[in-house]
């Protein structure tokens, strides 16, 4: 017999064990919203005891087992948009090597690495500002309000970053913000938020997003420039008649036979960069999930 909404959520979480962490977070948020609204509506009929009301609400909503199986069923049918079958191992090596150009995950990862410099800067600035203001405002009464505002904003940012990660890296992330109770005092809310280890994990994640963003951005831009330079050098030399190789003061023309070699090397480097990007994207997605998703 389930005695409270919290207990229902605990059982539901247990039932969903082994499912995707993001699915679990969504399922808990939905259930908490529905059960609390339904109970609030029941509250208007005072002749019923609270326990009775909860039993009836759960009867209509479905037991934790039923709810869990409904989520698992739908989850099985809806995969993140970029998720695809991994290429069969029996494909020839060359096809697998070049297949990266056809993989939206690789392009998504490159885009993610480029934009992470911008988003990383924004996250970093907000985290550092918010955190230090929360600390220094703590001596004022309104400091409490600011601290609550800051901790709540962390969840919003975590959800946003989750959407970006799912969209570009194809890793399933939560679609719902975690639910928070409305009828508690500001102080208790702050306490709840501060006790939540995910607040601290997301703080660390957002803090590290700037250095990571700088590394990602630099890496992609550098490799891109090298491969484009290699591919373009023979072409530019043939048009401008300007010697492409300079060693010290001496300048040399690129021999004609070397042109295909340069182009091929440039192409090779870019293809490897795409593979590298895809790999980093997958690793980053897993890391983001570990830090931003409530278990």
């Amino acid at each position: 017999m389930i005695k409270s909404v919290e207990e229902y959520l605990d059982v539901l979480k247990n039932e969903l064990k082994g499912s995707d962490a993001a699915t679990i977070q969504d399922a808990l948020a939905d259930a908490e919203e529905h059960l609390r609204v339904a109970l609030a509506n029941f509250g208007e009929q005072p002749e019923r005891s609270e326990e009775d009301a909860l039993q009836q609400v759960i009867e209509q909503y479905g037991s934790p087992e039923e709810t869990a199986s409904a989520y698992r069923e739908v989850e099985r049918r809806t995969l993140p948009s970029l998720r695809r079958e991994t290429p069969a191992q029996r494909d020839p090596a060359l096809k697998r090597f070049l297949g990266v150009y056809d993989d939206p995950k690789a392009w998504g990862a490159l885009l993610y690495m480029l934009t992470s410099l911008v988003t990383g800067t924004v996250y970093f600035t907000w985290v550092v500002t918010g955190f230090s203001l929360s600390l220094s405002f703590a001596i004022f009464v309104f400091g409490l309000l600011f601290a609550v505002f800051f901790t709540v904003s962390m969840r919003g940012l975590a959800l946003l970053e989750g959407r970006i990660v799912e969209g570009l890296l194809g890793i399933r992330m939560p679609r719902r913000a975690t639910f928070f109770q409305k009828d508690i005092t500001w102080l208790n809310r702050l306490k709840n938020n501060l006790m939540d280890k995910h607040l601290w994990l997301s703080l660390i994640y957002f803090f590290l997003q700037l250095p990571l963003g700088v590394i990602y951005f630099t890496l992609i831009i550098t490799l891109f420039s090298i491969s484009v330079a290699l591919m373009a050098a023979p072409l530019v030399q043939s048009i401008t008649d300007f010697p492409m190789i300079s060693v010290g003061m001496a300048r040399y023309y690129l021999p004609l036979w070397a042109a295909p070699l340069f182009i091929l090397t440039g192409f090779l480097i870019w293809t490897l960069t795409m593979h590298l990007g895809r790999l980093i994207g997958q690793l980053h997605g897993r890391y983001a999930k570990m830090f931003l998703v409530t278990e």
Binding site: E33, H34, A38, T67, A70, E73, K182
Partner: protein, 119 residues
């Protein structure tokens, strides 16, 4: 002995899988304004009368997947009393898809009816 109630439950569940999407889209298409989960569940309870076709909890994952495929949109709004609520609204794509689905449903319906009656 075949356990007919388990089989019936399974049959109901399999049928619900597609129908729930059609029903939810239709409800949100008819509605003048965005609705939240509990509101939708209450309305469906009214439609279904005494028999309950599916648990309310099973509606939410379907709403999810409809939103994920771009047929619905949602936003969270704080409420005067109680927890914040997520409001769902049908998109243009959703409306167009619904028109197709409804005609599929009509054909399906008459096909099944004929099969049951035997011609």
């Amino acid at each position: 002995m075949i356990d007919s109630s388990t089989l019936t439950k399974k049959f109901q569940k399999e049928m619900n899988a597609g129908i729930a999407s059609l029903v939810l889209l239709s409800v949100l298409d008819k509605s003048q304004e965005p609705m939240y989960g509990y509101q939708i569940a209450k309305l469906l309870e009214e439609y279904s009368g005494d028999t309950s076709f599916m648990k309310q909890g099973a509606l939410y994952p379907v709403l999810h997947s409809l939103e994920n495929s771009g047929l619905l949109e949602s936003k969270v709004e704080p409420s005067v009393s109680g927890p914040p609520r997520r409001y769902y609204e049908i998109t243009n794509d959703g409306h167009e898809t619904l028109v197709v689905w409804q005609s599929v449903w009509k054909q399906m319906n008459s096909f099944v009816d004929r099969a049951i009656k035997g011609g």
